[in-house]
Symmetry: C2
Subunit: 143 residues, 2 copies
């Protein structure tokens, strides 16, 4: 666990590290990501913060993404979700090589940071810049 003070400190440190101004909205949204350890959709976040304007939230997520704080968690559903970047992501330069798991029962999506996936044979003539690996099924808690 983490005390409130520790959370606040962590939030401030992360925002500064990624060149983001420390605003009320950003602190709240980032806190939610740190507390819930899963990928979050816009509506997930709205349910976990005091009222925030949806346009502001929309822009907050884009700026987090642009600045390497969160990444899109592709999970094969039509809902767009974001998750905290694990480490060294920078402005315009995300570096992820982990799979995402989407549970069809609890509808949660999580980053499988431990599950690296192997390089597979790329088709000749194609230049591959990003790869995503998605798993869907039932998570350990929902068995």
């Amino acid at each position: 666990m983490r005390t409130d003070i520790e959370l606040e400190t962590e939030v401030m440190t992360l925002l500064k590290k990624h060149d983001l101004r420390l605003t009320q909205v950003r602190k709240e949204v980032l806190s939610v990501f740190l507390i819930k350890e899963q990928a979050l959709s816009q509506s997930d976040i709205e349910e976990n913060v005091g009222q925030i304007d949806r346009i502001t939230l929309y822009r907050t997520l884009r700026s987090f993404e642009d600045n390497g704080l969160i990444h899109r968690a592709i999970d094969g559903t039509d809902k767009l979700r974001f998750a905290l970047c694990v480490d060294l992501c920078e402005k315009e330069n995300h570096k992820h090589n982990h799979a995402h798991f989407h549970c069809e029962k609890c509808t949660k999506t999580i980053c499988l940071n431990g599950v690296e996936f192997p390089k597979i044979i790329h088709p000749a003539g194609f230049k591959v810049k990003e790869t995503y690996y998605v798993m869907q099924g039932v998570c350990s808690k929902c068995q």
Copy 2:
């Protein structure tokens, strides 16, 4: 290449095979999938058929999907795309194990039917039912 007659025959055969009535809309939409050999979004299709009601198109795509004629091509973009099923997919029982490639230049998404991906280690306690593998980059034509 394929003659118009051959195309028409193929369309009829496919629709019948998948228990779908042979309607004007369905024939047109399926033709587009057969001609363009790539994953198509709703707007892609609208651009390639005479005017079709968007709700009808929406429902046409769902019924094609339900009946194993097309599948969702997860490509990591926020645009939903569908592609023809290669073979043996049935009602409620799609069987795909191929990767999808999305080109950031021409924005096309294609099925890499030849590129099977390896089973990767599933996290303990998780039951995996579906997996998707997505590649993004620059396609051979856009190099």
